[in-house]
Symmetry: C2
Subunit: 392 residues, 2 copies
């Protein structure tokens, strides 16, 4: 096991109707003037925005609003948010939505106290301070409610890049599974796929002797395999929604990923798809992740056999572990298909002829990625090709 | 799943040699004068205390010392610590040791800013503030390094009681598995048993639909079952020690126990044994926990069958789940025996004739406990009797 630090100071406020307490938590965590940051009109239509505003009003907390966050949130709105916060002397940002609203809020939070261009933090610079952020989560997926990460797309060139630091971990996150019960099946499945990807990208490691995090990752995957089909079949199933929502946070606040090298290449390879086609991140992952697994499997067959037996319920083929390893990947792709996810380029709406452009935009040139298997541009191309043609 | 809040703001600093950084973390978390609080002479002999003192000196942080913490830490030393901190204007307490040193440090931390008797917090009062506490852990067991709990024994009457609150969660905890490599096998096994008990006492619940925390608990148990025999056989096995150490924290910071009713009766029933005989808490748990399981099993046979199949590798007996449930308990007791734990009163050094006194001291009178099964005094007596005579 590697040395590590783990720090997750977010206060999680979980359960039915908890969003009406948001005013209390803003005060508890030092906010006196709030930016409400959200996406589509659904927060308005559902009455959620109303309840949040009332909670703030009841506590005498003034607020300004900035809606319009898109999936794969763009830098242009971040610049608007920074300007608004400075002008209005906002000292707390409350994001309402999924990963996009939260990631956009984190970007604004870093940008407000920073003299330069906030994009610096998405180009490798470490943020040292940020306005405090709170979240009210409406989609179980990105794990941004408990993480120190943010992903933003720069409109000039459609570059999708990440930033990270403890200072952007939310002060509090309100997780009410009821708020996710109105999500359409497709978005629900995209979220579940993203959660599973966050687990797998921690699971596939070259670090030896990491039984505790292996077992915790496997426990989360087993949870997702049980609960996801239940919410697809019955969107109003509160308990299944609740299990997925907590699994989504635990999967990405890194408590199950400490002490081990991780592999985020599937996320990186997918980001090019959602940047180019504006497809859902989870749908892109459903296409990429099993393809990546097939491509790198021979690097550590026994690790793939382990997940196949422990998680996918395969019988171990002791004479030929590769058979078991492959069967695990096959079951993963079948599972994704069963919850309505695309499994190849055609189903996703991507074009094989774009692969050269995707590889170029991935941007490693003659270099290599890090991770479980260090990939060159040619490897990335091969993974896109497997993904393009994948079948059940 | 129940509504819940989860808040674990402790910064965990994990890995080889990390204790030499303690001065940095004291400063980071606002300390300017430190009480070093520890137990036996082993911290001195091993050179650990030296390294800690040097780290503080290098950062120009003055400190005073209070050693002498005993297992099942006593109130008398807490009073001394409170007096010393007030006299010396200490503003940060650094505990070096296992659960006893940390729990004693937490008690002092609550007592210093409090006008009344610190024992109030062990008699039901909620603490509102405390001096900040940091820890350098030397035993993987109690989980106190990541919890908001503390257990202290009042010498007058040998009452062992608990206190809890977010304000006593450590600001940072340094977990270096190397420091546990010198622990004798018996103490190592006691620690492992305590960790497994912390998981089981969350696992046995009447709350339905808690798949995610069930699976996380099971993952931790599987880790303990793999790693504990390895450290008993090879005390210097760093990686096995590391997996146990992280499992011990995760088992008790409550991330695997949220959203569900819990059952802490085994801990309570054991506390009377360690208070009366001053035996190791883990050894007492090894005697009590399987006895409690046998006594309450019929309350939810399928939950016991679940843990038997998922954790203990039993084949499910679909015609008669009770057989599977019992087999799981049998394997647990066998496991405890295999790592050198006592499994009955004789092996623990307890006397059956003391059972009436133990029940009386447990102190529920004509009432009932809470938990998975609500126990009356007669039930507690029956559990002690099963524990007294247990065999493999």
């Amino acid at each position: 096991m590697n040395n590590f630090n783990f720090y997750s100071p977010t206060e999680f406020v979980f359960g039915k109707d908890r969003e009406v307490e948001c005013g209390d938590y803003v005060i508890k965590h030092g906010g006196s003037k709030v930016l409400l940051h959200y996406g589509s009109s659904s927060a308005k239509k559902s009455g959620l925005l109303d309840r949040v505003q009332k909670s703030l009003q009841n506590k005498g907390i003034p607020f300004v609003e900035l809606g319009g966050v898109q999936p794969n949130p763009h830098d242009s709105l971040v610049y608007k948010g920074i300007e608004l916060c400075r002008k209005e002397n906002v000292d707390f940002i409350l994001a309402i939505g999924g990963g996009s609203a939260i990631d956009s809020a984190k970007a604004i939070a870093m940008g407000v106290p920073y003299d330069g261009d906030f994009w610096d933090f998405y180009s490798g610079k470490s943020p040292q301070k940020a306005l405090p952020v709170g979240t009210i989560l409406t989609i179980a997926a990105a794990g941004s409610e408990g993480s120190g990460d943010s992903v933003i797309t720069k409109e000039d060139g459609m570059l999708k890049r990440g930033a990270g630091g403890d200072c952007i971990r939310p002060k509090f996150s309100i997780l009410n599974p009821q708020l996710t019960c109105t999500l359409p099946a497709y978005q629900t499945a995209c979220g579940a796929t993203d959660i599973m990807a966050h687990i797998f990208e921690r699971y596939f490691t070259n670090t030896k002797e990491v039984e505790v995090t292996d077992r915790l990752c496997e426990g989360l995957l087993l949870t997702m395999i049980k609960e996801t089909p239940r919410v697809i079949a019955d969107p109003q199933n509160y308990d299944a929604r609740a299990n997925i929502m907590w699994a989504g946070m635990v999967a990405h606040n890194n408590i199950v990923g400490v002490g081990r090298d991780q592999d985020w290449n599937s996320h990186g390879i997918e980001h090019e798809l959602s940047a180019l086609y504006d497809c859902a991140h989870g749908a892109g992952l459903a296409v990429i992740m099993p393809a990546w697994m097939e491509y790198v499997m021979n690097h550590d067959v026994m690790r793939f056999a382990q997940v196949a037996t422990r998680v996918w319920g395969c019988q171990m083929n002791f004479a030929n572990p590769e058979v078991t390893a492959k069967e695990g990947i096959r079951r993963f792709r079948q599972f994704l298909n069963s919850i309505g996810m695309p499994i190849n380029f055609e189903q996703l709406g991507a074009k094989e002829s774009d692969i050269p452009a995707l590889v170029k935009s991935f941007g490693i040139g003659d270099g290599k990625t890090g991770g479980f298997v260090h990939l060159k541009a040619k490897d990335v191309e091969n993974i896109y090709k497997i993904a393009a043609h994948a079948q059940l």
